[in-house]
Amino acid sequence: MKLPDLTELALRNLRESLLRNSLTTIGISVGVASLVAMLSLGIGLQELASRRLMKSGLFDTVVVTSRRDLRNFGREEERSGLAPGESRILDEPTRQEIERLPNVLEAYPDIRFITELRYEDKPHLTMVAALPSSAKSNDAFEGVQGNFFSSELAPEAIIQKAFAEELLGRTPKPGIDETNVKELAAPLLGKDLTMRYAQRETAQTASSAAAPDKAAPGDQGLAAAAYSVVSRELKLKIVGVADLDPESMRGPTRARVFLPLALAETLHVMHPTDLREMSRAASDQPVYSSVSVRVKNPSQVQTVENAIKKMGYNTFSILDASRSIQQFFKVLDVFLGIFGSLALAVAFIGIVNTLVMAILERRREIGIMKAIGASDGDVKRLFFAEAGAMGILGGIVGVALGWAIGQVINIGTNIYLKSQSFPPEHFWSVPWWLVAFAVWFSFLVSLAAGLYPAGRAARLDPVQALRYE
């Protein structure tokens, strides 16, 4: 029998026992709906988490440190590869070299230091970090109040909201994150901060003296650098208050005040690592404790990391962290999928039951069809087509139902979030592939459910079937 005939006969048969077949199809729909609901919850939560991580702005960033550096991230590479003595220092030529690597957008030195900032004559000790102008487009500054730096060299600062609270003498309530940034920013924007810092004044004098204890073998020659430290003050205008923490992944070294990168570079702030790095520097080229490398696309992070490692530096990227998060969500998806499938398993039994009943009811009809020339295959395919039609129909209705359930839960949760003064979140996602997958899966499950009844119908003995009244 041809497919259009098969479909036509199957749909006609489904219409004949409308109530029973509708109930079975609703059973499938509920199964598919629960599967879709569970999976879209899993996917939605994963997307929410990814979105949050993306906003940290570090998804496409690789942090490069020298292997000699005091700071390490406890990574295994420390022990393999080059010995610390053979490794290279992280200086300006290296930064330029990294910037020339394929897929690298920019590599900027990580300038950060702890210093004192005075606001209305009260001193506050905090970590200050430099931001490249490219950070403006970063998602991390999405919720910034005020503006980004007006120029690369402008004596301006963007402060993190926690620091803003400190400046205003407010203490956030523990646990609940409901700070209104707008309210915080209003009294601070345009105000001055006075930054006190120690400037390193390099005096290019004759060699040797600086730090003889650090003259390890393998150094690129011993350039002498003598310098003095001068105390300086700089007035900074507060131009912005950031809601999100652009450095959320940096842990203990994260900064709360940000300066334009070019400005920070001109300051020559005395840095703890200067003592030993400067002693080995080949020239007066600046030496950095770490360089942040922005990669064009998060998918290229691994390649860039490997290239930089080959150059002899340590690298760290958020990719490592996100990988374990992805793994967690994979497991969550599997669990949610299993729970969702339970309802579909019940629907499976429903289809088997309906079709077995249909065989009993249509015994005579099957006998007639065989008597007038239907083959076993024709009968089998007819039952398969009926099961498949219920599956596709149930799948479509189920996806719609699952989507609706998701919307209701999403709206309900957001009403709750709003009542708790949290921003609304979209943690429910039904991507197109899930729709296609759900309908296809429902179709396959239904065909599988039709396997036994169809086989049984095909094997029916026509003589017996026709005798049956």
Binding site: M1, K2, R12, I372, G373, D461, L466
Partner: protein, 258 residues
């Protein structure tokens, strides 16, 4: 009806059953429904299988129809031994070579007459448009063109049996097998159906095997009467009255009925 409609005969017997047996078990007892039947039916012949209930006449018919398989022996139809055919080949044999009518009509209740008549063509994968016109034609031949879109339950028994006849003939089979075709009909309607069967036999040259327990009916239409009892063949006599009538020219017979 043109002569091209006639089924070609090649001199071989249309049906040749040899030592045909069909035994089955019912609990502890072995039932010998058909027990060593040997018979030949010539192409174009109209044969009646007679016997009381349980004599095995329907079982023989089912074996000839390819609905059942013999326990032993052979049924050769159109030079093919049905006992040797696969399930698939048997289905194709039923579809193309055999047309069947039953005592209880066996139309599918959920389908209209046209759909019922079309059904064998669906299995034969006949083109949709051709199917509709053939079904219309077949129903017109049995006088049901006005009832095409009615369901079987809306029709009388005679009309249902006529529709069943139209369905049986739709794939142009060489064999028409009828199992008590008038059993559920009054005598007037029964005669009407039997006249149609005879017409197909004579005009289309179809071989007809009819099972009945009514000797009078058999004597009126069949050229040969075969008697069965307890699964065995107990008599085989030709019916000179009908045989002679058939021998006269068809035009005359046609003219007589019109």
């Amino acid at each position: 009806m043109s002569s091209t409609d006639r089924v070609p005969h090649n001199g071989h017997p249309a049906i040749h059953a040899e030592q045909l047996r069909r035994h089955y078990r019912m609990g502890e007892t072995l039932i010998r429904a058909v027990d060593g039947v040997t018979l030949k039916v010539n192409a174009g012949e109209f044969v009646a299988l007679l016997g009381s209930s349980g004599s095995g006449k329907s079982s023989v018919l089912n074996l000839i129809a390819g609905l059942d398989r013999p326990t032993s022996g052979s049924v050769i139809v159109q030079e093919r031994d049905l006992a040797q055919l696969s399930r698939e080949e048997l289905a194709s044999y039923r579809l193309h070579t055999v047309g069947m009518v039953f005592q209880s009509f066996n139309l599918i209740a959920s389908m209209t007459l046209a759909e019922n008549v079309e059904l064998p063509m669906r299995f034969a994968e006949v083109d949709r448009r051709e199917r509709a016109s053939l079904a219309r034609e077949a129903l017109a031949r049995v006088g049901l063109q006005a009832r095409m879109n009615h369901r079987p339950s809306e029709l009388s028994g005679g009309e249902q049996q006529r529709a069943a006849l139209a369905r049986a003939l739709i794939n142009r089979p060489q064999l028409l097998l009828a199992d008590e075709p008038t059993g559920n009909l009054d005598s007037h309607t029964g005669t009407e159906i039997m006249n149609m069967v005879r017409e197909f036999n004579q005009q289309l040259g179809m071989t007809v095997v009819m099972v009945t327990h009514e000797r009078a009916l058999a004597e009126r239409y069949a050229q040969r009467l075969i008697f069965l009892a307890d699964g065995k063949l107990v008599g085989d006599e030709s019916n000179p009255a009908v045989a002679a009538a058939t021998a006269t020219d068809y035009a005359g017979a046609d003219g007589e009925r019109r």
